[in-house]
């Protein structure tokens, strides 16, 4: 069994938008004989790449949901997760990385390390995923793999080493030179399926020897044996590969491969590298938390014979009901067995077990430790852990960012109303960064997410997958309120107009606190507020936080200290003190210099240098602060911090400014105080809206 698990690879393919990762996956599936024809992402045949199973993905040429698929190469079983490249969908990337043992970082040989590659790389660091790099599109004009290798070093801090050099470049790309076996490899046949190995062309011998020296130098840092062999000039293929593997697994070396997925060059050697260099599940140490032992971390065994621990990393609502993608970390998940959802303690029997191949599937009997598979008809949320009955281990919770943008949606008719709520239920389960609630004031359904495109895609999915036609309002920024100074409060709530009276006095002060949402401190001595009412006070203050008195945005960064008060033997009650606390909050808050904070985004625009001035101007106009401009030959990237509220519709502006040649990515950076003038505008707007509602 141990032998078997060593032949398993769970890998992801991550990259910047349009680096060609879906095309690469398509080729991998073709060479591993999982598919028999190749369809291009934006192909003329209208079929679309196999991994882009969702209609919408095919239309836009982007990959939204990560589909898991399985293939075999040289006796190894490879599970591939195709990950999305857009920042708006990073939760998908993060979830995939959580369950992966290794990854291929795809880079464009022309664009090099772009902003999204940096984000993805940071995510890989966070989850300690070893990776190898593949420089794609070496057939494109302007291709320069050496420059990309240097960028990997400079921008991402990888200790890169070239495992190959290209034979020809741009339109002349014919193959690659493998620096381990020191042979040239060519790819013949209609789809590059016939690999021809020949001697290295004379004009490349010197370069190859030089690069091989560099490779041996870099790899020998991870193997004394190789170091000795190198000194005696007796380096063998096995020694070299095993040293590179050690470096890769420790994340201290990044081997770089190259080719062109579109032109079918360099894919088979990359697959060899996946099997030779990336870790198998037992090479990776996975931790779970023991819920019964104060969340103590437990190392999982990876053995199929132990008790089951499995992790649901993705849900999909397919034609066969809810599909749950699952990774088994320990034990075996077999058809008919009973397991428990650790989050809610619900027990259930495993029905169908399948192995996924984009949107087609294959029924299997069990999923062993280390494998990725899918279950049908299991009620759960993504991020849930399944375990054998009696176990209380949970996989470490994932980092989930708070949404920064919201949108009001309204169904067009009754039928849409029902479908919309179905769709929302599904989406919120699938994607923790997508949230929904009904506004108390306007009664509208509000959806929240990580960016304009994120929400847009869900609105379109509602229509396509659930035929729920909805109209949308203007996107709204998730503003917050906070205070800037200390202020006292002393509020008495008194009601004696018939029925039981209400009395409570709460006094103390309110002050700003950094990096905490809410702190409550009880400094009452002498029982001026009886102990049983303290929690009512805290509750009252907490209620006030949900909607700030200034503009109705949630209040954060507030510390409340109560140090005095009064009660009445008959009229004081929990209700009375909650009301007193709410009154006290209002009183103190007004004096504490309340301000509005808005989300500031880190925006990176990549543009041809000739448009640099125009792009900078456009960023600057949006209340942006430009951090810097980086010149990278024909392209340059500009980094800025810009309030999210100013970024609506920026993609259109950028496209028209640069003849469609520039692109930008954006992610949440921090919350900052809104300038006075903008705040006044917001207050005006809020007033108007209130009037309209009334």
């Amino acid at each position: 069994m141990e032998n078997k698990i060593q032949k398993v690879r769970n890998i992801g393919i991550s990259a910047h938008i349009d680096s060609g990762k879906t095309t690469l996956t398509e080729r991998i599936l073709f060479y591993t004989k999982r598919i028999h024809t190749i369809h291009d992402v934006k192909g003329k045949d209208g079929v679309g790449a196999t991994m882009d199973s969702m209609e919408l993905e095919k239309e836009r040429g982007i990959t939204i949901a990560s589909a898991a698929t399985f293939c075999k190469w040289q006796g190894h079983e490879i599970n591939i997760i195709d990950t999305p490249g857009h920042v708006d969908f990073t939760i998908e990337v993060e979830r995939s990385l959580r369950v992966l043992d290794g990854a291929i970082l795809v880079l464009c040989s022309v664009g090099g390390v772009q902003s999204q590659s940096i984000t993805v790389d940071q995510q890989m660091k966070r989850y300690k995923v070893p990776c190898l790099a593949f420089i794609n599109k070496c057939d494109r004009s302007g291709a320069n793999p050496l420059r990309v290798i240097n960028q990997l070093k400079e921008k991402l801090g990888h200790n890169t080493v070239a495992m190959q050099i290209p034979v020809g470049l741009e339109a002349d790309l014919t193959g690659i030179v493998d620096l381990v076996i020191m042979k040239a490899i060519y790819f013949d046949g209609d789809n590059g399926e016939d690999v021809r190995i020949e001697k290295i062309p004379d004009n490349l011998i010197n370069e190859a020897l030089e690069k091989r020296e560099e490779l041996i130098d870099a790899a020998s840092m991870f193997s004394d044996e190789l170091m000795e062999a190198a000194l005696e000039d007796q380096v063998t293929e096995e020694l070299l590969i095993s040293a590179v593997r050690s470096g890769t697994l420790a994340r201290e070396l990044t081997p770089v491969f190259m080719g062109s997925a579109y032109k079918n060059k360099g894919i088979q050697p990359l697959l060899d590298a996946v099997t030779n260099l990336l870790p198998c599940p037992s090479d990776v140490e996975n931790e779970a938390l023991d819920m019964e032992d104060n969340e103590k971390s437990v190392i999982l065994s990876n053995s199929p014979d132990d008790d089951l621990v499995a992790f649901a990393f993705k849900l999909e609502d397919g034609q066969y009901g809810q599909l749950t993608y699952i990774r088994v970390y320990q034990g075996t998940l077999a058809k008919g067995m009973t397991m428990v959802n650790v989050r809610n303690g619900k027990k259930f029997k495993v029905g169908r077990v399948a192995r996924m191949h984009a949107d087609q599937m294959e029924d299997i009997d069990k999923i062993d430790a280390g494998y990725i598979g899918a279950l049908f008809g299991i009620e759960c949320a993504s991020g849930d852990t399944f375990a054998s009955p009696g176990m209380s281990l949970t996989m470490t919770s994932m980092f989930v960012p708070e949404p920064v943008i919201s949108l009001a949606i309204a169904p067009k008719d009754n039928k849409s109303q029902i479908n919309m709520s179905k769709a929302l239920g599904r989406f919120t389960k699938e994607d923790p960064t997508f949230r929904t609630h009904v506004s108390d004031e306007t009664n509208e359904t509000i959806i929240e997410g990580m960016g304009e495109l994120h929400l847009e895609v869900y609105v379109e999915r509602m229509l396509r997958e659930y035929s729920a036609e909805v109209s949308t309002g203007k996107p709204r920024v998730a503003y917050r309120e906070t205070i800037t100074k200390n202020a006292q409060f002393n509020y008495t709530h008194k009601k004696q107009t018939g029925g039981a009276g209400q009395f409570g006095r709460v006094a103390g002060y309110i002050e700003p606190v950094a990096e905490e949402e809410f702190v409550f401190e009880n400094k009452i001595t002498g029982g001026s507020i009886p102990t049983q009412f303290i929690s009512a006070c805290e509750k009252g203050f907490k209620q006030s936080l949900a909607k700030g008195p200034k503009m109705g945005f949630p209040v954060t960064g507030v510390k409340i200290v109560i140090n005095d008060g009064a009660s009445h033997a008959v009229d004081s009650s929990e209700m009375a003190f909650q009301a007193a606390a709410r009154g006290a909050f209002k009183e103190g808050y007004a004096k504490a210099g309340p301000v509005i904070h808005e989300p500031i985004m880190k925006v990176v625009a990549e543009t041809p240098t000739e448009f640099q001035g125009a792009v900078m101007g456009s960023l600057n106009q949006r209340r942006g602060m430009i951090v810097g401009a980086q010149d990278e030959g024909p392209m340059c990237s500009i980094e800025a911090r810009i309030p999210l509220s100013e970024m609506f519709g920026y993609s259109t502006v950028l496209r028209s400014l640069t003849q469609g040649k520039a692109q930008f990515t954006m992610e949440f950076n921090t919350y900052k105080q809104v300038p006075q003038q903008i705040m006044e505008e917001l207050v005006e707007k809020a007033k108007e809206e209130k009037k309209n509602v009334a």
């Binding site: 810097g628 980086q630 990237s637």
Partner: protein, 270 residues
């Protein structure tokens, strides 16, 4: 002598603050302490510690250079100079020919947080917030850098009112044989825009030097520079020495850089 100078300037700065506070009707204590903190940091800038009155040792359009071997602390030294100008609300354009924007940004954060550690300052993030709008980072590849290109970029910034620098820091400029023309073009640009320009220059162990310590390859362009400062590791310490400009011939005790933090060792409290 040095201590006296610092005390004198401190008093005069203090007087300025008092003057401001009488003019303004409301002066929050918190704001004042923040302002004082800024001023305090300005007083501790490396040049002032060297005996210069301020960074205005360079006349508008003037060039200064910091010489050292690789890894001795040139960038850190310049970042300290830059921070000093930023604290005075002067706009600094930091041009790096080696490092990407993120790394330069990191340099600033690092140096500022080390200064904060050294002087026990709590409000680093606020300090950073106040200076960031005055800083602009531009990076070029060494082979892609040219004065006309810089001029083009500069006019992109100034014409659209995005940023108008008062000080220029050029890190990683290749001082080789053919730079005279580039430097003179830069000089013209600097004079036209009244910019103070600081360079880093990497020296080599076995490099030929003039008796005054200036590398011979700088001789041709030496006239363009008003100030040349050298960072010289000796044993476990790094000495800061003025080779050209004010203080070059003085018997001023040489300053030390702390190799652990790359900050000037504060000897004023001794």
């Amino acid at each position: 002598m040095l201590r006296k100078l610092i005390r004198d300037t401190k008093d005069s700065e203090q007087a300025n603050i008092n003057f401001n506070s009488t003019q303004a009707k409301i002066f929050h204590l918190k704001e004042r302490s923040f302002k004082m903190l800024q001023n305090d940091l300005i007083l501790r800038n490396p040049l002032r510690l060297m005996g210069y009155k301020a960074e205005e040792i360079l006349t508008p359009g003037g060039f200064g250079a910091v010489l050292a071997r690789a890894g001795v602390g040139k960038t850190s030294f310049l970042v300290q100079l830059s921070l000093n100008s930023l604290l005075k609300n002067k706009n600094v354009l930091h041009i790096s020919l080696n490092d990407p924007v993120n790394k330069v940004n990191l340099w600033y954060r690092e140096v500022l947080s080390r200064i904060a550690d050294q002087y026990n300052i709590q409000e680093t993030s606020r300090l950073l917030e106040t200076i960031l709008p005055h800083r602009f980072i531009m990076t070029f590849r060494v082979e892609g850098f040219s004065v006309p290109k810089l001029e083009e970029r500069l006019s992109d910034l100034t014409e659209q009112n995005i940023f108008s620098p008062q000080m220029l820091i050029i890190d990683g400029f290749p001082f080789d044989e053919s730079i005279y023309e580039q430097l003179s073009q830069l000089k013209t640009l600097a004079q036209k825009n009244s910019l103070y320009v600081w360079f880093t220059m990497r020296t080599h162990r076995d490099e030929a030097m003039r008796p005054d310590g200036i590398p011979t390859r700088l001789i041709k362009v030496a006239d363009l520079f008003e100030v040349v400062i050298q960072l010289q590791p000796k044993g476990k310490e790094i000495h800061v020495k003025a080779l050209k400009g004010e203080g070059a011939d003085s018997d001023h005790p040489s300053l030390l850089l702390d190799p652990a933090t790359m900050l000037i060792k504060d000897q004023t409290d001794k």
